[in-house]
């Protein structure tokens, strides 16, 4: 997907005056959006800003959020991962099914091993064989969904004794009053934010995604960098499966269906471009939260669930436009 971003001449001589206010907003665009949407919803619904509602939303958003952290790393590295939805189904079915058969600890280990293996397959095909990530992960979406169904024979899987297993901790537990899914989401996001911003590894991923050829000349082992991003993505999916499986204490075979799109929508709302070499984890966190609050806010206001999709569309277009206003300003200052 070549972008027209660098080459579109209209960008240079667009009407800049109108962009004045917008560019101020967009400098902190995503945060402004976040606060604005919170404000609007709080006008319409009393419960919206209640502590219990905020906790519910953040907890619900944490599964998408955990996956989005991993996918953001893949995207910064210049690729895409559409297979995370199927992979989530796979990991959740596996860990729930094995829970009663080989015990929670072994089940978790096996689940992580197999999920990382799938990530390695992605990484091998995309990083080492240099195949197109969109198509490979699209194909893997189909393959993995098939594998889940073959494994389970199409049956739901359940954990028989829900109240008597420490596995419940991941989806239902609390530490210091914070729900464990939220804690996991926060810790993973913080960890990856630090890795991406302050380590040589993070800088290499940015370099590989931003300018693949230059990164090769500067001695970065590009192939293995890309490979590793898919392991990170798979690891995050495995963590999400831990939360999901424990929360539901059972799983359908298509439980993760469509998650890949919600994850991408969250990342895009956060403002990470899909071109690679740019983006940040904290933006993704906010994007995912916005998605969660839109969904919850509209529901509390009594609108049907599908209105959130329309609102998301409009916000994505607005966000893109605001981002553009900001770029115009920057272009103007650098060129004058």
């Amino acid at each position: 997907m070549a972008s027209a971003e660098q080459t579109n001449p209209q960008l240079l001589n667009g009407r800049i005056s109108r962009a004045g206010i917008l560019s101020f907003l967009s400098a902190q665009g995503i945060l402004v959006f976040f606060l604005l949407s919170m404000f609007v919803f709080s006008l319409f619904s009393e419960q919206f800003l209640s502590q219990s509602n905020i906790m519910t939303v953040v907890r619900q958003a944490s599964i998408i959020g955990i996956i989005a952290v991993g996918v953001t790393v893949v995207i910064i590295g210049g690729n895409l991962d559409l297979s995370v939805g199927s992979m989530l189904s796979f990991a959740t079915v596996l860990v729930v099914d094995l829970h009663d058969k080989i015990g929670p600890m072994n089940a978790i280990l096996v689940m992580f091993a197999f999920t990382l293996l799938l990530g390695a397959v992605n990484g091998f095909l995309i990083g080492l064989m240099r195949l197109n990530s969109l198509i490979v992960t699209l194909a893997m979406l189909s393959v993995i969904q098939g594998l889940v169904l073959i494994y389970s024979g199409g049956q739901n899987v359940d954990i028989a004794n829900q109240d008597g297993t420490w596995f419940a901790f991941f989806g239902r537990g609390y530490v210091l009053g914070i729900a464990v899914p939220v804690l996991l989401f926060g810790l993973l996001a913080l960890l990856m934010q630090i890795v991406m911003s302050y380590t040589g590894y993070g800088r290499r991923i940015f370099a590989v995604g931003g300018n693949p050829m230059a990164s090769v000349y500067s001695g970065i082992r590009r192939n293995w960098c890309v490979f590793s991003t898919y392991l990170i993505s798979a690891f995050c999916v495995a963590c999400a499966a831990l939360v999901l499986g424990s929360r539901v204490m059972g799983s359908q075979n298509n439980v993760g269906q469509g998650y890949e799109l919600l994850v991408l929508a969250g990342i895009i709302l956060g403002g990470t471009s899909l071109l690679g070499g740019a983006g940040s984890i904290w933006k993704t966190v906010i994007g995912v939260l916005i998605l969660g609050f839109i969904q919850n806010g509209l529901l509390l206001m009594g609108y049907p669930y599908y209105t959130q999709w329309i609102v998301t569309w409009v916000i994505i277009i607005l966000a893109v436009w605001l981002d553009l206003a900001n770029k115009r300003k920057r272009l103007l200052t650098t060129h004058s």
Binding site: S3, L138, G154, L261, I310, T312
Partner: protein, 319 residues
């Protein structure tokens, strides 16, 4: 110049998928006694016409170096409009459905043009939003056409050939000619192959891309109308995941996601490959779970083969 180059480039990439199509065709002919018959082959054509029509437009957009993820949702909306508006007359309903597709394509194109943002992002948003519009319009209900003439059209034939198959093949021919013989087609390759050079050559990039988004929107809507006529009904979930299968078909047909490269003949091969595989596996009673795995593995294999085949050619170009 460019068109000739594109044509030859196209032809070299066509071959693998057509070899594959012929191979699976022969394979299934031996494996199932029902496969090799005129009625089954026209069956396959009708079944593939939906994805096929969208894939025609998608080929243009992808040669441009863009992508459109909203086609499945556009198809769903057009189908609902084509059935839901029949109270105002069949013609009006169909025109409204097709117009909705072109309008939404134009919106996608306009946003990509004016913002220069990656089409993946723009159309992913549209995919969610348009699906929301369908649910809003239909109130989550399926629409059923009281007018059996509509459904009968979907099932009608000219001689032994179903009308839907004829429409699909005619559109394929037209889109092939436009791509290979017209200025718009040449520009499509030029824009995808080297955007900067194409601007220097005087192509109005944004407007050109927008036209291709309108084309794919039109074809998605046309596919929606024809699918609705096949069913005599429309459901709000219609077309879900079709964008994925369409992109798969186009890529199988040799079109490069990076743009500048591809052909309608190849896309036809890609569409048929998926259609024949699905139909053949149905007739052979391959369990549905395995079909998913097989289709995915074939896609990856084609990518790998394509990579291997193209290595020498890129070297040549460099020399």
């Amino acid at each position: 110049m460019i068109s000739i180059k594109g044509f030859f480039r196209g032809r070299t990439t066509i071959q693998p998928i057509w070899v594959f199509v012929i191979a699976i065709f022969i394979f299934f002919s031996f494996m199932s006694e029902y496969f090799l018959s005129l009625s089954n082959i026209t069956n396959i054509l009708v079944q593939t016409s939906t994805i096929g029509l969208i894939a025609l437009g998608m080929t243009y957009v992808m040669i441009n170096g863009n992508i459109d993820l909203s086609v499945g949702a556009i198809l769903g909306l057009a189908a609902s409009l084509a059935v839901g508006l029949q109270d105002y007359g069949l013609t009006i309903a169909i025109i409204a459905a097709l117009a909705s597709g072109m309008l939404l394509g134009a919106i996608n194109g306009l946003v990509v043009w004016k913002t220069g943002v990656n089409a993946f992002i723009v159309t992913l948003g549209a995919m969610l939003g348009i699906r929301g519009l369908i649910f809003l319009y239909t109130g989550e209900q399926s629409f059923y056409s009281m007018n059996f003439a509509f459904a009968d059209f979907g099932a009608s034939t000219i001689g032994p050939i179903p009308v839907l198959a004829i429409i699909f093949l005619l559109c394929t021919l037209v889109m092939h000619l436009v791509l290979t013989r017209t200025g718009h087609g040449r520009n499509t390759f030029a824009v995808g192959g080297n955007p900067e050079a194409s601007i220097d050559a005087g192509i109005r990039l944004g407007r050109h891309m927008m036209i291709n988004f309108i084309i794919v929107g039109f074809f998605a809507a046309l596919a929606g109308v024809l699918l609705a006529s096949q069913m005599g009904a429309a459901t709000p979930n219609l077309g879900r995941d079709y964008e994925l299968w369409t992109i798969t078909a186009v890529v199988l047909g040799g079109t490069k996601l990076t743009g500048g490269y591809g052909s309608i003949v190849g896309t036809l091969g890609g569409v048929l490959a998926i259609g024949i595989l699905r139909n053949g596996m149905n007739l052979m009673q391959v369990p549905a779970f395995y079909v998913l795995v097989v289709l995915g593995l074939i896609l990856i294999s084609v990518l790998i083969i394509d990579k291997k085949l193209n290595v020498p050619s890129t070297k040549e170009v460099r020399i």
